[in-house]
């Protein structure tokens, strides 16, 4: 049995960050807005599914991430959401699942700004190092956002 319950993980706080990204999107409230074809929309659907079902893992969901979404996103807007996934991550290390809803959302957000997907190393610190290898600015923004929230 998992050592942490779903109740201890605040999926809503991740969802709220994705909602902010949607509000700035040109396609919002238009027929062109299709969540299944959008990285942010996919993340939101996965989170809603997880919250409704009370489950953390969605088998096979990683394969469905719409990597063909090439809308423009900026590190400044994506970093707070990535930081929130870091905060909510239980750092499962050897037991990390790419189909965990937190990992799914993080992967979606990575695809918006990074050229290569990150094989999650199991801890936030190691993750930031891996992000830095691709995008130093993003890594610093995530680290700062994690710290600001932790200091509150």
């Amino acid at each position: 049995m998992s050592t942490r319950s779903l109740n201890e993980i605040d999926l809503r706080s991740i969802y709220n960050h994705l909602e902010k990204l949607c509000r700035d999107c040109d396609k919002i409230n238009s027929p062109a807005c299709k969540e299944s074809a959008c990285l942010i929309g996919f993340g939101k659907r996965a989170l809603r599914f997880s919250m409704q079902k009370g489950t953390l893992d969605i088998p096979g969901a990683k394969k469905l991430i719409p990597t063909q979404d090439v809308k423009t996103y900026y590190p400044e807007t994506v970093a707070p959401g990535l930081a929130e996934t870091c905060r909510q991550c239980r750092q499962c290390r050897d037991n990390h699942s790419p189909d965990c809803v937190i990992a799914l959302t993080r992967t979606c957000l990575e695809y918006t700004t990074l050229s290569q997907e990150i094989d999650y190393p199991g801890s936030v610190f190691q993750y930031l190092i891996k992000v830095r290898e691709q995008n130093q600015t993003l890594s610093e923004l995530i680290a700062a956002a994690v710290k600001i929230k932790s200091d509150r």
């Binding site: 049995m1 998992s2 319950s5 779903l6 299709k34 969540e35 299944s36 996919f42 659907r45 996965a46 809603r48 599914f49 079902k53 009370g54 489950t55 953390l56 893992d57 969605i58 088998p59 096979g60 969901a61 394969k63 469905l64 499962c92 037991n95 699942s97 189909d99």
Partner: protein
Amino acid sequence: MDGVMIVMGEAIFRQKNKQIAVNVVAACGFMTARQFAGLGKIAEELESGGLKMTTRQTVIVLLEENKLPAFKEGLPSLGLSISPFGDSVRAVKACSGNSELCPRAITDALNTGIEIQLKYLGQPVPSDFKIAVAGCPRGCTDPYCADFGIIGCGKDLYDIAIGGRGSSGSPLHGRKILEKCDQNTVFQVLDFVLDKYRTLAEPGERLCKTISRVGIEAFTPNFQLPEKNDVDEEFVAFLTSDE
């Protein structure tokens, strides 16, 4: 809790303090409140020396030996029984992964374990045969330490590992023989492995020893597994609904 077995085939052992330890099996460790309270009530009435949870998700009840008949009499009405011991299929371990419990589970491990236990518990085999079912690759029930380990890998999909041995001075991890089997296939593979084990093993030989002697290929079924979609269909439907 071990000791001298006092009833052949049943997990009842004399302890150092002369009491007997009676091993009670439930549905892969899952009990209703009525069962739990009922067991406690009987144990209290019979002045039990205590109860102890086991690593196989069974419960040991300590009793004076002359209380055993009364204790046995009380178990059937609670839907509980005494666990088998010796050269037989032992109590099945399963995690709490199902549609209602552990949020990490990706398949129904608990009910699969219960169904396996209902069918195979106590069946004779050359040596003890332990089965463990886990609802996700985290493997809380140590499936790689079981003779037959079942590991959830998708919705109604399981990997199967055989030849593990946990409680031993020479522990061994089982080896994966099949991937992405549905529940029906798990039962077919278990029948196959048990049949081969009964045929190939020497008396008293644990499965891991038989495997090291004759090779794991003899225990690897050549089933044509149907192509399985390991994506959660319910999520797929949810993903595109109202678009």
